[in-house]
Symmetry: C2
Subunit: 281 residues, 2 copies
């Protein structure tokens, strides 16, 4: 199932980039948002969860009552989305002087398919320090595109250059570590923002594939993203690569966790992110 990744050399404009089409939301009379799954970001079944998560935070970021920038997001994938339209409801449950707490639900056919909470805040400059520094890695142009790629459509929307822990070339149960490191960015390149960064936080292949070199059915149940970067740092990152690192801590009776980081090329830790994933067998 190997194929060559087609790299688009010319950045698209924000209006025509497939990601912007995929996360388009239209406001409805009752203040909720109408979105639609995108064939360009299709997963095995339904859409790539990263784009679904991106929709949840976008509904908050577009809300007229928004205060500040995202600090944390938790999305819970309550049911597989059906290809087609969906509604996103975002409600500011509490607004303080400098922080705001949001509850988000996504619905299809009147049924909840996603729940989420978001915290936004106005940040002030303080003493700051990255304790988890970027691991030593070869530069993006020194890392070849993968020999093996997953056939899902959404994978083609990301330029991924795996350093360690890429998809197994043979599924022979030979894995011994769940650690992955890779360079990643939108394909075609697109200037980074909180919405696209949320999607990229979900880019890592399921840790159980890497650890076991075995293919089993999986699905993310819950994902949390902590945003350490502010909007200016995302603007500064532009269309550059992000270094992603992911590993599992425990696989137990049908659920494993994943703990991940994303740095920009300048070595700034943009997000730390965690998820818990269902697996069968």
């Amino acid at each position: 199932m190997a194929f060559l990744l087609e790299i688009h050399p010319t950045p698209y404009t924000m209006k025509t980039h497939p990601f912007d089409k995929a996360v388009k939301l239209t406001v409805q009379d009752d203040g909720s948002w109408l979105g639609h799954t995108s064939a360009a970001y299709a997963n095995m079944v339904g859409p790539f969860g990263g784009v679904t998560a991106a929709q949840a935070i976008k509904a908050v970021l577009m809300h007229p009552q928004l205060l500040g920038e995202p600090i944390s997001l938790t999305v819970n994938f309550a049911a597989a989305l059906t290809d087609g339209p969906y509604v996103v409801q975002a409600r500011a449950a509490r607004t303080n002087r400098s922080t705001q707490h949001w509850i988000v639900e996504m619905l299809q056919f009147g049924q909840t398919v996603l729940t989420a909470t978001v915290v936004t805040a106005q940040r002030r400059e303080t003493w700051s320090l990255d304790e988890e520094t970027m691991p030593a890695c070869p530069l993006p142009d020194q890392v070849p595109l993968p020999k093996v790629e997953a056939p899902m459509e959404f994978v083609k929307r990301y330029e991924q250059r795996p350093i360690v822990g890429g998809l197994p070339e043979v599924w022979d149960a030979s894995g011994h570590s769940s650690l992955s490191q890779l360079w990643v960015r939108d394909n075609p390149p697109r200037p980074l923002d909180f919405v696209s960064l949320t999607a990229i936080a979900d880019i890592f292949f399921p840790r159980v594939f890497i650890r076991r070199s075995t293919h089993v059915p999986v699905g993310t149940v819950s994902m949390t993203v902590y945003f350490h970067a502010n909007g200016q740092q995302l603007t500064d990152t532009g269309t550059g690569y992000l270094l992603g690192q992911a590993r599992a801590q425990a696989f137990r009776n049908g659920y494993f966790d994943q703990t991940s980081q994303l740095w920009n090329e300048a070595g700034i830790l943009l997000v730390t992110t965690h998820q818990v994933v269902y697996y069968k067998e």
Copy 2:
């Protein structure tokens, strides 16, 4: 501010243990729950957030529609609780064949003070593996009680034996790592369950204190707990100690993260947990 921790030798019964009094919930006519802050678990201002988080998950675990056991919990602390009563609302937003998605809100005076989401599931036995193994540590009885303790009342409700990264003895800005390891259990000892484990997930002192040896105002904004243990593993853990480990990954413009693990004495990873915390200066 040093003092001797008073260790109660006799386990209390579940009805009389201060933790059970603190997390008591009474069902109301509309299906919501009524709780009350506990002086025994007071923090500097308001109650210990771990107990507040424990209330959020307890409202789900006591709910007549509950399916399965907790997989993940995210609580967002929307406002400081006032000492006194509060209402907890728990709603099953989606119930599938083996998983369930909950939205929880806690209110005081009609205002939201906490939002939360919970995922519960019926687990099946599968291939399992702890990749993050318990670090080599001295046994609990080899680790003395701390020379320095925080004066907050809730701290006395936990027997904590710091191995590395305890509270600084002097606040001289000499810190160089945010890593803490400690043995911890309820004081007096109490058989572990999902509710008390949720509270213990919030036991770690703010990482900014440890890293900087500097005292600044702080407050947890959001906490996520992934439950790897099932109920039987908690029963097997009983009143034993838990090994807790916590460290920060980034401190940035008013918010830092914390990533933590809790193992039981048998070395089973019970939970992995994360939080993002506000800090001033």
